[in-house]
Symmetry: C2
Subunit: 185 residues, 2 copies
């Protein structure tokens, strides 16, 4: 076998210590990622960036998926997380073609997580917005503000794919924190 | 790296000798595959079957994608093909949710092909029907008849996922044959 599968870390149990989270914004052209860790002063972005398959090595969809898969494995190996968080793909999407192409990228990202035994958490876009701003219909500016405040940054992370990856990681953080709070009460 | 990437076999050049084709019908629940080879008496199914992620090892989407990816790599390693053929996912699909889920499976299948340097050919459903029956709107029975006749079988391959995998492989065969015919004229 070409793939090395580690034992899953009990992905169906509630996460006991959320620790490090990798947030991903999947795309065949640009995939954003953000490695976020808890600190005493709040969540902190340890590492973030984009995987941008381009040039001769990214001519086919297969080439692109290969580069995305490799890139995510590298992130997971460099910063082994307790969870990988990404947006759910909706059925009631207004651009099915875009969603279907994106789902190819999402597939190899979820595969990479499974190969490394990292549990995957999917969040609806509205849940991410509601968790970060209090409103599931928050406009972009409000989301950008929440990301900056939550991460204690003066500037919004760029490009927007990285900001979106931060947002889904922060959403996972907050939901996991709330779950622990309820569990401890 | 966990993945072993071989040098691509010039996937953008026309296929010089179609040889063996692996046809795939992707799905998160059932993925059908068919290994079809040219013989003097026409195309022949060397091996066919389904990858059906089930049970405790297939609880999450990641588990399923992992099993599908492994299964396809095993087929490609056991029967190295000159091409992998599968249906295109359409944008004007009536069931976007199903198409999006299927695209996750499609992503890890296309990845497996890229990892093994196998060119991928995608065909629209209507093209597969037209190539096999002469009509892009052929009903199911006509397609089943064409698959049986083309493969010289008394019975249609079962389950239908295998028959669909045979159909897309046969479509690739026929189109590659016609291309060679034109090239030689």
């Amino acid at each position: 076998m070409a793939t090395t599968a580690r034992e899953p870390r009990a992905p169906h149990e509630p996460d006991p210590a959320p620790g490090r989270v990798v947030g991903i914004d999947p795309g065949l052209n640009v995939t954003g990622y953000a490695v976020v860790e808890p600190t005493a002063r709040g969540p902190y972005v340890v590492e973030a960036g984009v995987i941008r398959p381009r040039g001769d090595s990214a001519r086919t969809m297969g080439d692109r998926l290969h580069l995305i898969h490799q890139g995510i494995l590298e992130v997971l190996d460099a910063y082994p997380p307790s969870a990988l968080a990404l947006e759910q793909v909706h059925s009631h999407i207004s651009h099915p073609r875009t969603a279907i192409l994106m789902a190819h990228a999402r597939g190899v990202i979820v595969l990479a997580a499974a190969e490394r035994g990292v549990p995957v958490a999917g969040y609806a876009a509205s849940r991410i917005k509601k968790t970060l701003t209090g409103s599931g219909k928050a406009p972009k500016e409000q989301m950008q503000h929440a990301i900056r405040v939550e991460l204690g940054l003066d500037q919004l992370p760029e490009p927007h794919d990285v900001a979106d990856a931060c947002a889904v990681a922060l959403c996972h953080f907050q939901i996991a924190r709330n779950l622990r709070g309820l569990g401890g009460a």
